[in-house]
């Protein structure tokens, strides 16, 4: 991993731009070259320079100096399911392989307004369905610490690019852990904000009641910098939470809750050891808590995911955009386009979603899952009356080998700690908590903290305590 300007954090790069140690052009060139040297298949496409944006970012820094937005002139890598006008946004699917975005996602618009640049679009599991980026129609992303292992997913390209120093920072999206899982496997910071805090307009929908855009960064400070720019209500996304939706929370963290019974099964012993050591190092009071609905949470998550995915993806029918195969009848056009355009996991979830929503099963599956979700939210709300944040390892294990979890259920079970934040809408962050040794290779692992809805800042406080950063 060569050290270039692309290895800098946002904070460091912004500082160099302001002290004239480098220009926006030099920073762009370094990041662009680094992205082109990608040996991990983290990028699906590296963009050509936007000359006007580079010039205008430099002019803004020259004119405004310290007052220019921190992101001004910073090149960012963007997950392939976030729309950038005029660029392909394929969601790593053959269905949208040639789909050119007709508008900017609100998140992209906000980054543009802050003067940020876009270096490329990153690989992911097709339509953000998976947990390893092995479901990309264009081939998997390799883990920067061991090319024989997965980068995690679904935002695997975004995490691998940041970890391999071929991106300063990136955006991912998190439906059941898709920002935090690859952040844990690649050894970087991944933040899933409170549901409704960042607009989903222009994010290709997977499961709409879970989806949230989130930053993947080298430091907690960078995650906060991106979040501060991206958050806010949006008339184009009615699920964004209006100002004043939540009480004012203290940023301080003194008590950490740990759902111990959840940690009793399926965890590698050295992951538990690292987790306990990381908790102890925070100096906070550690309290055991019980969240009984954690047990059925994963089943509830997947049922709702299947249902929402099958509903959302019904819009892709080969008519208005995307892959368009043609047969004898209109029905043939739909069936051929969808059968050719979707990959195996996507079809699997569409079929399962159709199943759980079908007349005979909707009560036993979907409605039961929604009820379990409600119970889980209630239990988390109760737990937060006695603790400031709740901690678990982000993933039960370090990154696994490519192809090791080809059975879909075994891959779903990896998400046991991450899905609760999406079910409850609560914010969660994954920060590196060291490494474990597997076959002579040191592999990173992450610790996850969850906070009440609207208490996102608390996660920056505790995350920085783990990484040893000074935030405020």
């Amino acid at each position: 991993m060569e050290s270039t300007l692309a290895s800098l954090s946002i904070t460091e790069a912004a500082h160099k731009l302001r002290t004239r140690e480098c220009t926006v052009r030099e920073l762009w060139d370094a990041c662009h070259t680094a992205a082109q040297s990608d040996a991990l298949h983290a990028y699906l496409e590296v963009f050509a320079a936007d000359e006007a944006a580079i010039v205008s970012a430099q002019a803004r820094i020259d004119a405004e100096g310290e007052n220019a937005p921190l992101l001004c002139g910073i090149p960012l890598a963007i997950k392939d399911n976030i729309l950038i006008k005029g660029k392909i946004a394929s969601a790593a699917s053959k269905m949208l392989e040639n789909y050119e975005a007709t508008y900017d996602a609100t998140a992209i618009k906000k980054l543009r307004d802050a003067g940020a640049l876009f270096v490329g679009r990153t690989n992911m599991d097709e339509f953000a369905l998976g947990g390893s980026t092995e479901n990309s129609a264009f081939g998997p992303t390799m883990n920067p610490h061991d090319a024989g292992r997965v980068a995690g997913g679904t935002s695997g390209g975004s995490a691998a690019a940041v970890a391999a120093n071929i991106a300063i920072a990136s955006l991912g999206s998190d439906t059941g852990g898709s920002v935090r899982n690859p952040a844990s496997y690649c050894g970087v910071v991944g933040f899933k904000p409170t549901y409704g805090s960042i607009s989903r307009s222009g994010l290709i929908a997977a499961a709409s009641s879970f989806d949230q855009i989130g930053p993947i960064t080298k430091t907690v400070a960078d995650a906060k910098t991106l979040f501060d720019v991206l958050k806010g209500t949006d008339t184009l996304d009615s699920s964004t939470a209006p100002e004043g939706s939540y009480p004012t929370f203290s940023k301080e963290v003194s008590t950490i809750g740990v759902p111990r019974t959840l940690l009793e099964q399926g965890l590698d012993p050295d992951v538990v050891q690292a987790f306990n050591a990381a908790l102890e190092a925070t100096g906070c009071k550690i309290v055991d808590i019980e969240i009984p609905s954690n047990k059925p949470a994963l089943a509830a998550y997947y049922i709702i995911n299947f249902a929402e995915v099958s509903t959302n993806l019904s819009r892709l029918d080969g008519m208005r955009y995307g892959h368009a195969a043609r047969g004898a009848t209109l029905l043939d056009d739909y069936v051929l386009s969808r059968t050719e355009g979707f990959g195996k996991e996507t079809k699997r979830r569409i079929l399962l979603g159709t199943f759980v929503l079908s007349a005979g099963y909707i009560d036993a599956y979907y409605r039961k899952a929604v009820a379990a979700r409600s119970a889980l939210i209630h239990e988390f709300d109760e737990a937060f009356k006695q603790v400031d944040v709740i901690a678990t390892p982000t993933m039960p294990t370090p990154a696994f080998k490519m192809g090791e979890k080809s059975d879909p259920l075994s891959l779903y079970l990896e998400d046991v700690f991450t899905v609760t934040a999406n079910l409850t809408g609560m914010p969660a962050i994954s920060v590196p908590m060291g490494t474990v040794d597997r076959e002579g290779t040191k592999l990173p692992i992450g610790i996850q903290f969850t906070a009440p809805r609207g208490a996102d800042e608390r996660l920056f406080t505790i995350g920085a305590a783990v990484t040893g950063e000074q935030l405020y």
Binding site: P296, M319, R320, T329, L331, F355, D363, K368, H378, Y412
Partner: protein, 98 residues
């Protein structure tokens, strides 16, 4: 009542979802669905009333009116149409006189 996805049922789901499942894919999906639905079946034993929905969301509204200038997006959207006549999307006939 753990659900079983039989081959016929998977074919029916595929038809409903506007997909074709090949003869090779069919037994694989059936076996996978057996395992996945078996796991999801744990919800059935859960002592919780189905249908209680207390998700913390509320309706949001916008002021009525034109969200954007007429035709502002037409050119870019039409560009993506696989089949078109002028600015109109062209699809096969659903009903015919034959």
């Amino acid at each position: 009542m753990t659900a079983h996805a039989t081959p016929d049922e998977v074919k029916k789901l595929a038809a409903l979802a506007r997909l074709t499942v090949s003869e090779e894919e069919l037994p694989v999906f059936v076996a996978e669905f057996e395992a996945i639905l078996g796991y999801m079946g744990q919800l059935e034993t859960l002592d919780i009333a189905a249908g209680t929905d207390i998700l913390p969301y509320a309706n949001t509204f916008r002021t009525e009116g034109a969200p954007h200038e007429k035709g502002a997006w037409t050119r870019d959207i039409v560009k993506a149409f696989p089949n078109k006549e002028g600015d109109s999307l062209s699809v096969k006939k659903i009903l015919s006189n034959d």
